[in-house]
Amino acid sequence: MNAIHTCSQETGIYYKGMEVPWSVNRAELPRDNSLFSSCRHSSGPVSSPSLTMSNPWAKGGGWISVLISGLAVQITILLLWMLLRRFPSSTIYDIGSLITGRFLGKVLALAYVGYFLMVGGTVLVRAAGIINKWILPQTPRWALVSLVAAAAIYLGRGNLRTVARYYVLISFLIPFFGLLILYGYSDVDFSYIFPIGEAGWANIAKGATETVTAMYGFELLLFVYPFVEGKSGGKLKAVSLAVWFVTLFYTFVTLTGLIFFSPEGIQYIPEPVLYMLMTFQVGVVDRADQIFLSIWFPNVTASIISYIYAGANGLGYLFHRGNHKKAIFYAALICLVISLIPQTPAHVDRLSKIVDQLTFVFIGGLPVLLLLLAVLLRKKGGKAC
């Protein structure tokens, strides 16, 4: 509880429920909405469509897989929310202690710190890989990841509101994604997605298990929940809205890729969005993919920063009496080191696979287990402050 009190005072965006005027309350909702959506946004659009479509199962039904996984994410969100609702002033770091006791709780908190930093590192190494592949082949990876780490330290030293403001700032870039991708419709063939369900519904559902892990980001709910003001119902609404916004956006991107490249052709293209943009000439711009990358990179940075921030906060909770500023340096450093470990694309893939599986554990398994325990032991966190 201690940590959260400190945090909430520090961030200043957390008030007592009743004291907040209704209008402010509402005004804050879009912000956390964009925070959630941006999180998921960032690692996604470039590589996620490939995850859907290059899986040998879904074929032309890849876009349906995305919708199904959106549904799965929604269900997961609902479960997470049911857990978090019981402890309205606690992050996942606290909740563990409250349910399982001090020692186990600390172990759990450490595990979540490890998980957040590992996801951050994986997103970082993949982002750097894409930059290396597409625009800066000679630039060493350490230079690229240090740039992101530097930004993370700079922003992370502030409070969560600083990070949220950065999200609001870059959320203005998101419409450009859509606009650039719309260019693809100059040369598409809708017949590629027919017959709908060609691959068989079982296969499409199977494809959804691949897509679901591409929707990283919503797990930050575990950490952000108490910091966002509003009633629990409002928070659920905001997150759900973000989930469906992102799901529909992904569906749109996946669909565009499929009808642009054909289900056959997309199999060999790991970054279909970039590849598609590479063929457009927008006015005087010869290569739209370069523009896209410049818009995309701040988004990825934002998502990496939130993971580092979440990790630093946990470390602060465990070792610095809730002061995350001290932890942000080595949280960023750990992330940086993780991102420098894999040496070949195969290693990166293996890291991604591990993180994918960890996601199921940390987002699916553990919270559900905690929820069950909380219900059985009738544990409940007090009202905030």
Partner: protein, 371 residues
Amino acid sequence: MLRKWVCWLMIASVFLLPGCWDQDLLKDARLVYAKGYDRSPDGKVIQTLVIRRVTPGEEPKPLNTVHSAVGSTVRDASESNLLKIDNLRFYKFQVELLGESLAKKDLFSYMDVIYRDPEAPLTAKFAVVDGKASDILQQKKVSEKLIGEYLVKLIESGEEQSTFPQETVQSIRPKMLDPGRDFVLPDIKQKGKEVVIKGAAMFHGHRMTGTLDPDQSILFTLLSGEPGKSARFSKKVNPGKVTNPSNYITVSADGRKVKRKMKVNVRRNGEVEVDLEVNLPVTVMEYAQDRLDEEKQVKRLNKTLSKILTEEADEVIGKMKKARCDGLGVGRQLIAYHPEVWKEKKWSRDYPKVRFHPKVKVEIVGSGILN
């Protein structure tokens, strides 16, 4: 104090210097403007590059140099060229010529290097050369124009006039990979000191399997529903001497107003029938006999032109069947809307059995400033 400054310097350099690893100065780059590939009799690839240079001096003058190299693969040949020319850069090439000898082999394996390179300009144009690509490129100039520019203009105007289908390096890729669709590329040839339009080259799978004359390739672009800005025909509509120009009419159709309908039907016995209808509103460009204000006359001309073009469309389709080139994407329609029929078919065998019912409807809607 000093420590603080050193710290700031380091941070600043992290932000400013990373660009330097990947700098590639345009002024040093030797840009390839056009490329050509041929196949030598022993199966090697011959790469011919046209490099654009500007002569130094008071009056800078653009200049082309042409280089050739041989290799087992495309990239292998490039390597030999790279040894000869330093700072060779491919990211601005506009057109790629394919010698017929190479186009008749597995094209996809020659294309791999382009699709793999993040710097490759995927909007470049293709053309098949009747003969050797290197012969055309070695000319360096065609009627005062540099060969690279000349070829780009030639292909672009061919596309505008619907003689060439509008394809780029990227746009043919899904068609190459799709079992239910083939593509058609521009076909050019050398004639004396000129380079001229020969028509279109039809592909089946990854190989070139036939050609169309210029008139036929215009009809093909109309039938495929993707004509360029305009489409022009000159047809003999009156009986009488072939040598008398007044027996001919020249009409032009506005590409945007051309309407095409394609319907793929499957009979109960599994036979595939394709109804193909093209509505062609045209304006008369040249008709020495005039009398276009008479309704009867216009109706007769509409009917005659429709009949001629429908017959020619039949010929085009016959040629496409012979080449097994499914340029209209009938197979694609089957995959998408009749998947159970498609599963029964072996397309390269069954495609020629498809029955087409083409119908071109010409309607004269304008006659210039004369009646």
